[in-house]
């Protein structure tokens, strides 16, 4: 079975929880019956170095730069035609973004179907089109209809158009001849799978370790509010379309499954496959290490909310002065790390807090920790937590995302962002060895029962079997070939302004 695994900004070029999951998926035991093609969406055209050794099951890697130079259609006449067609699709796209009802969803879908058809030759479908103008006009039309969208200035529209144009470039990504696609998030990888489905009838399976849309809601980065609104509407519409078109949708937790169902995924399509790690890599070590150490493993960045952990640790130190805090993992945000270090200095904890950086053997980190804490304000699948549980460590975690169903009754959950609650839980566990050992033993048993790599891979075997035995619909291919939407046309929308924009060929920027 040939499967195209589609990643964004991660495997095989960057490490991290989702990349580790991907690596397990393509290199785990029993994988030799699959041939994987990796399609990796990267930032720039510079090909990054591999962060993982490629297993023999991977037959090829295609890097698709999202922020590289634009690729246009060859030939002046062909380019003109493509711009006109793409501008028409852009009108549908921008109008489709403005509503959540089936009518707008169909417009959005038809726009992407057209753009996927245009991008079949490898040209970026919206490059050179007056997307900002179309966006401004669509937004103004929504005001006229009483829409309550935030004001979109010309500058905001330019910025949003640039982001949208780059976001839609994956539609032009080449997909190798495979039996199935497997986008690993509900964002841009979905576009590659959707294009392959519409162009070649290849079914796809969508896996979401974290909910892409939810994470964009929580933190989209430093862009103006109106730009954020456009992009969030785009990702929302894309997620709904992705769920509707997928043969199977896999959630890493029930929490994620609820988000998917809320955004229109059909209940019969959604299955929950929790992530897993190899038990052999994290042997249970029931014995306590020397001294009292609170361990933390992850990426140092705002979502990890280390400031809360440091403040909680300061309170713990008042009760248990000899306690130490060890922070292990790479830095995702240098500025945030500086803030953490400044807080450590301000609270006079410099001798008690260690920023250890990345380590080769995380199992040793868990073995050296008395209690493992995790204070993230958002979680997809927290692999460090599974690893800590498998190592037999008692854990204190914030109750966010799917953490509660992961930890169950084998660890302490506290409200996120509350240093006092974290401090109380940590102090209770550090001061009570019997309870700590009981929780550690329960955690190890729970992790080995529910969150092993073998269990995860077996589940994916079943999902792949279902996927490749299914029958794909052919109606969408007809839509691309004819270039005409099944239900919506520009004339239906009375878009005289957009029509004139398309006809006059304003799109050769």
């Amino acid at each position: 079975v040939r499967v195209a695994v589609i990643t964004e900004g991660g495997y095989p070029y960057h490490g991290g929880g989702a990349s580790d999951w991907c690596h397990r998926l393509v290199s785990g035991s029993g994988r030799d019956r699959y041939a994987y093609e990796l399609v990796a969406l990267t930032g720039t055209a510079d090909r990054p170095t591999l962060a993982y050794p490629l297993p023999p099951t991977v037959s090829g890697v295609t890097a698709v730069p999202v922020w590289g130079p634009p690729v246009g259609v060859a030939g002046r006449l062909a380019r003109r035609r493509a711009h006109r067609a793409a501008t028409g699709a852009a009108v549908l796209l921008c109008r489709g973004l403005l509503g959540d009802d089936p009518y707008h969803a169909d417009m959005f879908r038809q726009a992407l179907v057209r753009l996927a058809g245009l991008a079949g030759g490898g040209a970026h479908p919206l490059a050179g089109t007056p997307l900002a103008d179309v966006l401004v006009d669509a937004w103004r039309a929504s005001y006229a209809r009483g829409g309550d969208y935030s004001r979109l200035s010309v500058g905001d529209a330019e910025a949003a158009a640039a982001l949208l144009e780059h976001a839609l470039r994956p539609l032009a990504a080449p997909v190798p001849a495979v039996d199935a696609c497997h986008p690993t998030s509900g964002g841009l990888p979905l576009l590659v799978a959707l294009a392959a489905r519409w162009r070649a009838g290849i079914p796809y399976l969508l896996t979401e370790q974290g909910i892409y849309l939810r994470e964009r809601y929580l933190d989209y980065g430093a862009v103006p509010e109106a730009v954020k609104a456009v992009m969030l509407r785009f990702f929302g519409a894309l997620a709904r379309l992705g769920y509707a078109e997928a043969t199977t949708v896999v959630a890493a937790s029930r929490f994620n499954q609820r988000w998917q169902l809320r955004h229109g995924a059909h209940p019969a399509k959604v299955v929950v496959v929790p992530g897993g790690v190899e038990p052999a890599r994290f042997p249970a070590r029931p014995e306590d290490p020397a001294g009292r150490t609170v361990g933390w493993v992850g990426r140092i960045g705002p979502s990890a909310d280390l400031l809360t952990l440091i403040r909680a640790f300061w309170r713990v130190r008042k009760e248990l002065p000899a306690t130490r805090l060890r922070l292990v993992g790479p830095t995702a945000d240098q500025e945030y790390e500086r803030r953490c270090r400044a807080l450590v200095d301000r609270l006079e904890l410099a001798g008690a807090v260690e920023f250890a950086g990345p380590v080769d053997h995380p199992a040793d980190t868990y073995a050296a920790a008395t209690v493992v804490a995790r204070t993230s304000v958002a979680e997809g699948t927290p692999y460090p937590l599974i690893e800590a549980m498998m190592s037999g460590r008692a854990t204190v975690t914030g109750d966010v995302g799917g953490v509660a169903e992961l930890v169950g009754d084998a660890g302490l959950l506290v409200p996120p962002g509350e240093p006092a609650a974290f401090a109380d839980a940590l102090t209770a566990l550090l001061g009570d060895p019997a309870r700590r050992r009981a929780l550690g033993t329960a955690a190890a048993a729970r992790a080995r029962a529910h969150f092993t790599a073998d269990r995860m891979l077996r589940a994916y075997d079943h999902v792949y079997a279902d996927l490749t035995s299914g029958v794909t619909r052919s109606s969408d291919l007809t839509a691309i070939d004819s270039g005409v939407s099944s239900g919506i046309s520009l004339s239906d929308l009375s878009m005289s302004r957009e029509r004139s924009m398309i006809d006059s060929g304003r799109g050769t920027r």
Partner: protein, 278 residues
């Protein structure tokens, strides 16, 4: 964002180019440049002149030329939120080098003053701060327009107004330079008989026209047209090189005026083109 998806978040929003500077940052940058330029060129010049110290002409001229070239090569971009990307350095560097060469070569045609810097150099030395402030005004208006308007037609009308106003601001040096050049050939009899008077007036005309060429190259570079800026900057160089072979200063004045007028047409094209990056 949770650990597994830190990088995907970076794909679009975090890898996006940094926003171009807004009006306030533009103003601060312009004031910093004016202060730095004044400290480097006019202030030492004035102090030296007041102190009666002997003035070597070349260092001041070179400093001004390098400043003009660098300001075109590294021009700040107009204020579209993503205008800073992609930034290419080839054409801006060509434009900057051409402008610096033009400034130096044209300056060689000016008569050597017995004491200090010849008056023909003064327009360039003292016009650069005005030019910086004018450029800030233009770019700040562009940035403000992007924020103020949510209607493309009204925004385009605003840009047309801004374009006409900017062009109006670029015209006075051309008019002054041409007028001075014309005057040089028609000086009253008493002055015309004076051996230095026509050359001095013609040199002043060249100095003023040179300021205009610098302003237009700077504007074109800031409006994402470094190729056109390079064209304007390099245009007068063949004529200026002819100075070494005894070419009269009038030819330089004509070459500068032609470059200037061509530059105005190109600037109008860049300012009024609706598809021009803002």
């Amino acid at each position: 964002v949770s650990t597994p998806t830190v990088l995907p978040a970076a794909m679009l929003s975090r890898l996006a180019p940094k926003p171009a500077p807004g009006p306030n940052r533009l103003r601060r940058a312009a004031l910093r440049r004016v202060a730095l330029y004044s400290l480097l060129v006019p202030v030492p010049l004035a102090v030296a002149a007041l102190a009666g110290a002997p003035l070597a002409r070349l260092p001041w001229e070179l400093a001004a030329a390098l400043w003009c070239g660098a300001s075109v090569a590294a021009a700040e971009r107009t204020a579209s939120p993503l205008a800073g990307w992609p930034r290419r350095y080839g054409w801006p560097l060509v434009a900057g080098a051409g402008l610096a060469a033009t400034v130096v070569l044209v300056g060689r045609g000016f008569a050597v003053a017995p004491h200090g810097v010849p008056p023909a150099l003064m327009p360039l030395l003292f016009a650069v701060p005005v030019l910086e402030l004018g450029m800030w005004w233009h770019l700040a208006r562009v940035a403000a327009g992007l924020v103020q308007y949510d209607d493309r037609d009204r925004h385009l009308r605003y840009l047309r107004w801004l374009g006409w106003t900017t062009l109006a601001g670029l015209l006075p040096p051309l008019a002054t330079g041409v007028a001075l050049a014309a005057t040089a050939s028609r000086l009253p009899y008493g002055l015309a008989g004076h051996p230095d008077a026509p050359a001095l007036v013609l040199a002043m005309a060249c100095g003023v026209l040179r300021v205009g060429v610098v302003a237009i190259a700077r504007l074109l570079s800031a409006r994402h047209r470094p190729g056109l800026a390079a064209t304007v900057a390099w245009c007068p160089i063949p004529a200026a090189l002819g100075l070494s072979w005894g070419q009269p200063l009038a030819v330089i004045a004509v070459a500068l005026a032609v470059s200037y007028a061509t530059g105005l047409v190109l600037a109008a094209y860049a300012l009024f083109d609706p598809r021009s990056p803002q």
